[in-house]
């Protein structure tokens, strides 16, 4: 092991690489010389998955089933961005109960995704455990709590979408089938416990002591005047951006970088920006469910969430409260739609929309021909938008850990990366970080 002082004039390489069975393949390459980061690359080497080509020539309803396959964690997000884009173009008016049901579906996805990341992926880093198995051996009740919450999200999604992963009920105009009230009874009971567990989660993660990395960041999220934005709202930022959900491409653009098979998105000025719970909490905390707002207030961490990416776990936990509490409210008010599936007629044109996936803004754009078939598609997942921000933060943060022993530096950098809950392909995996001295 070398101390930083021993490495003057030589390059140090930080590398992260991973292959897994079903999800994304990403790597980190960090080159340091004389204490300065000279290269910080979030490499994505997974072969392109061609979803934007797979949907060409397909009907809108076929697109909904295809894009759900992009991710096993956030299939609802892909379906929601697509379905709203088509309905906007076709002028479809949906039943208010359908609107509520779609919001409930999104809550289910946020619940399962956030619970998974907080309990199984992220928390062990803060508590000095290698992984959730180690944590479970010491804090069994804690992991059981997280799994119970996650299961509630999965069950809720099963009731609405027909199955917990890759749901099949979403259709342009509504749902192929809407659940009856008794079908929601069991999961409604579970949600009482899930809300309590989510509140305990906020208290738990608020006590985590971890590294700090305060820096200014451009934050971007949907904002809706009447609710915490999921399916609808305007694209806003903390520097005054205000655009319709369909106009993402007026302010942002994708670009190819040599070290990634995924496109990176940047602002029109070339600047990086951050999506996800951190941005949503900062830009729309006044629209949180009262229970979530109280939990955030009690944590006293709202300012830290805005400036310190290591506090994103608190933002995620606050959103867990929001999603469980709102899901409970929606079920209590729910009455099955009179018309679960509105009639619609396709028309040619540009169908575009953005919704809030668990990891942030997800933009879809489709060019539709006169037969209602997709001629061209653009899908911009949150992780591809966060990539450049991750690289910028690695560049900014790495100098602070270079003097630490190898393992500690490794741990800190991994912790930083996990804070974004990255999902390359859309799924990302960051694994064994190795530090090599040239």
């Amino acid at each position: 092991m070398h101390r930083a002082a021993e490495l003057e004039g030589v390059d140090r390489y930080f590398k992260v690489a991973e292959l897994t069975r079903v999800e994304g393949e990403g790597s980190l390459h960090l080159r340091v010389r004389d204490g300065q980061v000279v290269e910080a690359q979030l490499g994505i080497f997974e072969p392109p998955r061609y979803f934007e080509k797979l949907v060409v020539g397909r009907t809108p309803d076929e697109v909904l089933d295809i894009v759900a396959r992009i991710c096993g964690i956030c299939p609802v997000a892909y379906q929601m961005s697509a379905v709203h884009a088509f309905e906007e173009l076709f002028g479809v008016e949906i039943d208010p109960s359908v609107r509520a049901l779609r919001r409930l579906m999104y809550c289910a996805e946020w619940i399962e995704s956030h619970a998974l990341h907080i309990y199984l992926l992220h928390a062990p880093d803060f508590l000095g455990f290698q992984n959730a198995v180690e944590l479970a051996r010491v804090e069994r009740a804690v992991i059981e709590r997280g799994l119970r919450v996650k299961r509630t999200g999965n069950r809720l999604l099963s009731v609405i979408g027909g199955r917990p992963i890759h749901p099949v009920s979403v259709r342009v105009g509504g749902f192929s089938r809407a659940p009856r009230i008794p079908e929601l009874a069991d999961v409604r009971r579970e949600l009482d416990e899930a809300v309590e567990a989510a509140l305990e989660t906020v208290e738990w993660v608020s006590r985590f002591e971890g590294p700090e990395f305060r820096r200014p960041a451009r934050l971007v999220a949907l904002h809706h005047p009447g609710e915490y934005a999921m399916n609808e709202g305007r694209i806003t930022s903390n520097d005054g951006l205000d655009l319709p959900a369909s106009s993402w491409d007026q302010a942002f653009a994708e670009e190819q970088v040599a070290h990634s098979t995924a496109l990176q998105a940047r602002g029109s000025d070339g600047g990086v920006y951050l999506l996800g719970p951190t941005s949503r909490i900062t830009l729309a905390r006044d629209r949180l469910h009262p229970l979530a707002a109280e939990a955030l207030e009690r944590s006293g961490l709202a300012p830290e969430i805005e400036h310190d990416i290591f506090r994103s776990i608190v933002a995620r936990a606050v959103e867990l409260v929001h999603a469980t509490a709102e899901a409970r409210d929606i079920i209590d008010r729910y009455s099955p739609p009179d018309v679960p599936l509105a009639a619609w007629t396709a028309r040619p044109g540009r169908a575009a929309w953005a919704t809030e996936a668990p990891r942030g803004l997800l933009f879809h754009r489709y060019e539709v021909d006169e037969r209602g078939l997709v001629r061209e598609a653009q899908i911009v997942p949150p992780t591809s938008q966060n990539q450049a921000a991750i690289e910028a933060d690695l560049r900014g943060y790495a100098p602070r850990v270079l003097g630490l022993p190898h393992l500690e530096a490794t741990h800190r950098l991994e912790l930083l990366i996990r804070s974004y809950d990255p999902c390359i392909s859309c799924a990302a995996h960051f694994l064994d970080l190795t530090v090599e001295a040239a």
Binding site: E18, T20, R21, V22, E23, G72, I73, L116, L120, L121, Q130, N131, A132, V133, E134, A136, R137, R140, I143, E144, L147, K150, R151, N154, I165, E414, R418, C423, A427, H429, F430, L431, D432
Partner: protein, 168 residues
């Protein structure tokens, strides 16, 4: 019609029909459901730790899947207890889905010791939808026979254990 088994073994059939040889576990599950009254088959796709936690206390299980291997068509069978023990660190890597060994290790850590076997066939082609490779197609009867034999062994063991409990 099959009668109900006094000591059923839960069979978790894993995989995806649309991913070539990855369908082998699901197809084996289908065959067991038809032909093995002691097998309570659950089609889980990707095994979740909550699937294991939902097992009735003490009920043995079989996890049937396809794996990438060196010799397509080869059948692998590993005791779950051994797999978990060989993976004491577990989940060294960040992932949104737990590997089988991680799920078993996590269930064990949560006080649900999982007894049973992991059975798999080494696959060749995980790309061609809805079609098994020749090697896996040829190996399917052996996969099903191995599963059936292990289910029978688990039932015999459970039966013997209960006799001992009654005598104690």
């Amino acid at each position: 019609m099959r009668g109900s088994s006094p000591f059923p073994v839960t069979v978790f059939a894993c995989g995806q029909m649309a991913r070539g040889d990855d369908a082998a576990g699901l197809l084996a599950g289908r065959a067991l459901r038809r032909s093995c009254r002691d097998a309570a088959v659950m089609y889980v796709g990707q095994l979740q730790v909550t699937d294991l936690l939902d097992l009735p206390k003490g009920r043995p299980c079989l996890i049937v899947d396809a794996v990438r291997g060196i010799t397509p068509g080869t059948i692998l069978a590993r005791p779950l207890r051994l797999m978990a023990a060989q993976n004491p660190g577990g989940m060294a890597r960040s992932s949104h889905a737990l590997a089988v060994t991680d799920a078993v290790a996590l269930a064990n850590a949560l006080g649900q010791p999982v007894e049973g076997w992991f059975v798999a066939i080494e696959g060749d082609d995980f790309e061609t939808p809805y079609r098994l490779s020749p090697a896996v197609r040829q190996g399917m009867p052996r996969l099903v026979a191995t599963c059936r034999a292990l289910v029978a062994a688990l039932v015999r063991r459970e039966s013997a254990r209960r006799r001992v409990d009654r005598c104690a």
